[in-house]
């Protein structure tokens, strides 16, 4: 059978930002779906979003309400969402209350009424909310499984995409025969972790679609449910082949140490203790990009954008003008209860909006602290996914990280995120001649040569200034407490290593 013989399954927009990506491009037309989850997890809101996105006067949506929340209250609350369009009622969206027939009759009668209404209205979408309340009558002639099987058969034949909404606890999910009937099973859950509520959704099954596996964070705002795919919406985008273009820091000596600059599409980590100039270096990196026509994003967590721009101005770097020109966005992300994926989506949106080529995350420690405690466990994994996704489309990322300064060790990062980076630049203090001076060394540069030199630098009103020569007259510089040797300083060009990666 060639591809021309195969039936084409239309994909319907879910109306939920981010969910189309998760379900593989939209929900299959004529599919029979169950939305399950605990009370308050957003099931009804999600169904409403689908209904409002797809219902038309010609092919309306029938929304059957059963026992539970009264329809009038449901509409009262649901119309607070921005997706709710009252003009669609009752022409394109009809709410039909089945509580009387459920209370007075059996499931057979319920099925009969649904059948009657569907035949009359020829709907494109049918929702039964909540189907589970229908079986609380012990004398029901028809069991729920038979009811659902017959309903699924009927509605598929009538070319309706269907949602059954049910309240289920987590342990009821396993081996439940009702779920075998469904083409799609969307599971919504919310848990309290410390002081935060964590909402996640999972596509447990979806026939005929390549959905994104795993748990995806979602949030309910005044726009309704918004989902945040674990792949950040970048699965459809092709990864760019690695290029060898080098991006300058605008610091000639540092570019030399990096064999011409940071390779485009790399993830760079600048690690150092407080005051070593990590943010200064990051600012110079982003400013140099703008100077060369490469839009940039700076995600800051520890200071406000105005303060960040003011500090850049004190170094002679103008970040105000590129912000006005749409070449630079400084994001201040300190929501405290956001999920890591949600925060990363804000960064990604900004990157895509201005076509950013350079991204600075200042700093990873601030980023982690800005997250809801419940999400911190996922931090490294999510960071990995975001870096992988962004560098894959050619964005070069510079992250700063604060490390504890000890005078006996030389850690690259206390967050164990070195594996996320292609290149590591380490800044640190050393005690020399009664002064606390600063040294810089390129620890790692994946797939390229870099200088092995340990260079002294200063932070001036022009930014980071690397002093003229590598330090050769000291032993044990990386310990922070070097010992003077008799060997004189050398003045030759930085020596490059062979590109062999250092174990981190």
């Amino acid at each position: 059978m060639n591809t021309q013989d195969k039936v084409k399954i239309n994909k319907l927009p879910t109306g939920v930002p981010g969910l189309d990506e998760i379900v593989g491009g939209g929900l299959p037309e004529f599919s029979f779906n169950i939305i399950a989850g605990a009370p308050g997890s957003g099931k009804t809101t999600l169904a409403h979003q689908f209904v409002f996105a797809n219902a038309t006067e010609e092919r309306p949506a029938l929304y059957f309400t059963v026992l539970g929340e009264s329809a009038i209250k449901m509409l009262r609350y649901q119309q607070q969402y921005t997706f709710f369009d009252p003009a669609k009622l009752p022409g394109a969206i009809r709410f039909i209350n089945l509580s009387q027939v459920v209370l007075e009759k059996d499931l057979g009668a319920v099925l009969e009424q649904i059948t009657r209404e569907v035949e009359k209205a020829n709907p494109a979408v049918v929702v039964v909310d909540s189907f589970r309340t229908m079986v609380r009558k012990p004398e029901s002639d028809m069991d729920l499984q038979s009811f659902i099987q017959r309903l699924a058969l009927f509605l598929a034949s009538w070319q309706a995409t269907t949602f059954l909404i049910g309240e289920y606890a987590e342990d009821e999910l396993r081996d439940n025969p009702i779920f075998t009937v469904a083409d799609g099973l969307l599971w919504l859950r919310q848990t309290a972790e410390r002081n935060s509520i964590v909402r996640k959704l999972q596509i447990i099954k979806l026939r005929g679609q390549d959905s994104v596996p795993g748990l995806h964070t979602f949030r309910i705002t005044d726009a309704g449910v918004q989902a945040f795919s674990r792949t950040f919406g970048l699965t459809a985008r092709k990864r760019n082949p690695p290029r060898d273009r080098r991006l300058s820091f605008g610091i000639a000596e540092l570019d030399k140490m990096l064999d011409g600059g940071v390779r485009e599409g790399d993830s760079v980590l600048v690690a150092g203790s407080s005051g070593t100039g990590k943010s200064v270096l990051a600012t110079q990196f982003i400013a140099e990009g703008i100077r060369q026509g490469e839009p940039g994003i700076v995600a800051v967590f520890e200071e406000r954008p105005e303060a960040y721009a003011e500090r850049a101005a004190s170094l002679g770097l103008d970040l105000e003008t590129p912000q006005k020109d749409g070449k630079l966005t400084i994001l201040y992300l300190r929501p405290l209860d956001l999920s890591v994926d949600e925060t990363m989506h804000s960064i990604l949106d900004a990157v895509q909006k201005i076509g950013a080529k350079r991204l600075v995350i200042d700093s990873l420690a601030g980023f982690e602290m800005a997250l809801s405690p419940g999400f911190r466990a996922d931090f490294r994994e999510s960071l990995y996914r975001m870096i992988f996704a962004l560098t894959g489309i050619g964005v070069t990322i510079l992250s700063t990280v604060e490390v504890d300064e000890t005078f006996t060790e030389f850690p690259f990062s206390t967050y164990s995120i070195s594996f996320l980076t292609d290149d590591i630049i380490r800044l640190r203090y050393v005690s020399i001649d009664g002064q606390l001076r600063k040294i810089m060394v390129v620890i790692k540069m994946r797939g390229g040569n870099h200088a092995k030199d340990i260079r002294e630098y200063e932070i001036t009103d022009k930014g980071v200034l690397i002093l003229g020569k590598r330090l050769t007259n000291y032993q044990g510089l990386i310990s922070g407490i070097p010992v003077r040797s008799d060997r004189p300083d050398q003045t030759e060009e930085p020596s490059l290593d062979t590109g062999i990666e250092h174990t981190t």
Partner: protein, 140 residues
Amino acid sequence: MRDLAHRLITYEAGSGKPSESMESSTLRVYEKLRQSLGEFVGVAGFQSLASRALTLARPEVPSLSAARVDADGSLQGMAAIEAQINMDNDRPSDGEIILIARLLGLLRLFLGEALTLSLLRSTWPGEIFEDRNSLHGRKV
């Protein structure tokens, strides 16, 4: 709201048979509301709304004390206020208008103006609502 209630009743009076009384025009408005609202709020839901509307209307129209809303949401006992209807000028009584106005007022309170108008437009022709886009119409 009284203005809109008056227009709905007047419309029904105009579309009914000449022999039908103003009371039956009011009942037709009420029945149409029962039909369209009952579909989505359910019989019990409509019955609750109508009972509340009747309770709110009674202090203003004592004669409505004879009226009641049955379990199926139907309105009974309207004959008791028939005496108040001025058959000469063929105008609906205050009692009838107030009862319908209170019912519409509850809808506006719970569902908002836009959604209430959407629902009413599906039952009555659009021209009834023209030039009076707001439910805050002038009082009769």
